[in-house]
Amino acid sequence: MTIPVFEPWNDPEAKPLIQFQNVTKRFGEFTAIDDLTLGIYEREFFALLGPSGCGKTTMMRMLAGFETPTDGKIYLSGQDIAPVPPNKRLVNMMFQSYALFPHLSIWDNIAFGLKRENKPKHDIEERVQEMLRLTRLEKFARRKPHQISGGQRQRVALARSLAKAPKLLLLDEPLGALDKKLRQDTQFELMDIQEKTGTTFVIVTHDQEEAMTVASRVAVMDNGKLVQVATPDRIYENPNSVYVADFIGDVNIIEGTAKPTGPDQYDIAWKEGAEPLNVKSQNSFSDGQTCHLAIRPEKVTISADKPADADNAVQGRVLDIAYLGNISTYHVELPTGAVIKAQTANTRRIARRAFNWEDPVWLSWTATAGVLLAE
């Protein structure tokens, strides 16, 4: 039995739940969102990723109703949401600061939204109990927010925003205040909850690892524009620009000029004196066009002797070693002065490390290891 792959964005029949249509938002002279068009599908876990000030929070606040677009339209289930005030939208938000009401107990915090709907008391109690169970907070129902830990507060905020069963849940840097270990656990919890409830999640984050872990699709933003929208693996393996390649994970960027040598085959001339690099690329380049080869450190092999029949091999010496426990990143300086990073798993104990500072080494990679980008 095969599980159908969840990728409505590839289905031309699928209608997005949320649609941004040429949305522009200006604050005075500053353009926060610049003519942006985007579709987010039902049940998606969609991540907006970018540096601070790129406009990701503004997008989220427009969805919540705290900002209105200067130009363009936003549709939720085909309906223009601009005239709908925040309290009438089927959208709930989990705030970065959690924004728990300090004067109310955990129970009352979660029930807050439900009480506004004038539901029967019994239904409210049942729903709150369900939310407490989902977020494993039953024991803390009677406490006030200042009497529980940061991780618990985060779960209360999540429970409160999910209680009204919104069509769309917005999460503004939901894990920013947690320490790393707790954050990783919580990421999986979030994915679990998203799957269980079937709610569409839009998460804003500046942490690329977090976005890659939780999201079905990631949108990388810069200066109010979408740079790339794709699945995490495509963003990582096939970035469409140097900006995305550089923003997501570690990367070596080698600048040079392309010279076609066959179908999808290029010789890249780079830094004088060095041999041209042999690269296969789907993206086509003309003769003499400036290009950037983006290659991930883990795809660069480091060895003591020149490897036979490698597509590309360069010699250098070890400049720096970043030891991370499970892996090490070697900074290797080439004779031309360029520095290339190579990563290997530390399969042996550190005392038996093969390379040390100042050691001469060879770096090699295949023709398909990197991505050739115009800009």
């Binding site: 309290n87 600061s97 004067h103």
Partner: protein, 294 residues
């Protein structure tokens, strides 16, 4: 150890010398009898007769008298009513002002704060006199209202309870605004957004989030207005009329018109006892707030 002791001793000595000792003297006078003498009360302490004979002369007659003449309890009750009503009015005026200050652009706030504190730069007495000029029959307010054609004959405001309320609200407004302002300023704006996000209208969010979270400021402001208003003397005697009955005025008349120091002292002691209740409540509110912030 010694230094700490000295540091603690200074405020206690201060309180002892300037509060406890004078209070003991007033209390002693309250237990004495009025006399046509100098000072106008009896008994005086005499070394020859000794402490026993002196204490034997003291009694609670004056306190009993306060319960017998209905002037006093009426004055206490009337003071209480005026204090409660004017505290409420000050809250009604002060809360929107504090709220407006918090919502104002950041760069305006120091100026607005300055404007609230500015009246303190002029003597309190002069400001109350100024109100007499505004509220009197030929005053600025009546002149203005007649000029606009709203009224034909001047309104009688001065020497009524209305003038007293105006005076109290005006004088004590900063004491209401400042604690509420500081409570509202600490309020996280995202809480209001969260309330709206969860289905509250603006008004509901104000009622369910803003008001409860500024409660400590409201309580502090109310006590800061209520406590001094209860014993207020200057405002009712300058702006109030003959029918404005406040205990501060009664106290003054007993003391200076009747020259009945013992009864005046008894009135003062009872007033102090009445004030201890709200002061203790106020302290408890402050303490609770501090605990909540920790």
């Amino acid at each position: 150890m010694m230094r700490r002791f000295v540091l603690i001793a200074i405020p206690y000595l201060w309180l002892l010398a300037l509060f406890l000792v004078p209070f003991a003297i007033v209390f002693k006078i309250a237990l004495s009898d009025a006399a046509i003498a100098r000072p106008p009360y009896f008994p005086q302490f005499d070394w020859v007769e000794g402490i026993g004979a002196f204490l034997a002369e003291l009694d609670f007659e004056n306190f009993v008298w306060l319960t017998e003449d209905d002037l006093y309890w009426k004055a206490y009750l009337s003071s209480l009513r005026i204090a409660v009503i004017s505290t409420f009015l000050t809250l009604l005026v002060g809360y929107p002002m504090a709220y407006g200050m918090v919502r104002a652009p950041e760069e305006w706030r120091p100026t607005l704060m300055m404007l609230v504190i500015l009246p303190f730069w002029t003597s309190f007495l002069i400001r109350v006199y100024a109100w007499m000029g505004i509220l009197s029959n030929e005053g600025l307010l009546n002149q203005f209202l007649i000029w606009t054609g709203l009224i034909d004959s001047p309104l009688t405001i001065l020497n009524t309870n209305t003038a007293v309320y105006i005076g109290i609200v005006y004088t004590y407004l900063p004491f209401m605004i400042l604690p509420i302002y500081s409570a509202l300023e600490r309020l996280d704006g995202s809480l209001i957004e969260a309330a709206e996000d969860l289905g509250c209208s603006r008004l509901q969010a104000f009622w369910l989030v803003t008001i409860p979270l500024s409660r400590a400021g409201i309580i502090a402001g109310c006590f800061l207005v209520f406590i001094p208003t209860l014993g207020e003397f200057v405002i009712p005697s300058l702006l109030g009329g003959s029918d404005t009955l406040m205990i501060g005025k009664v106290l003054w008349e007993e003391f200076f018109s009747n020259r009945d120091w013992p009864v005046a002292s008894a009135v003062a002691v009872v007033l102090l006892l009445l004030l201890i209740v709200p002061i203790v409540l106020f302290q408890r509110n402050q303490q609770k707030q501090q605990e909540a912030e920790q």
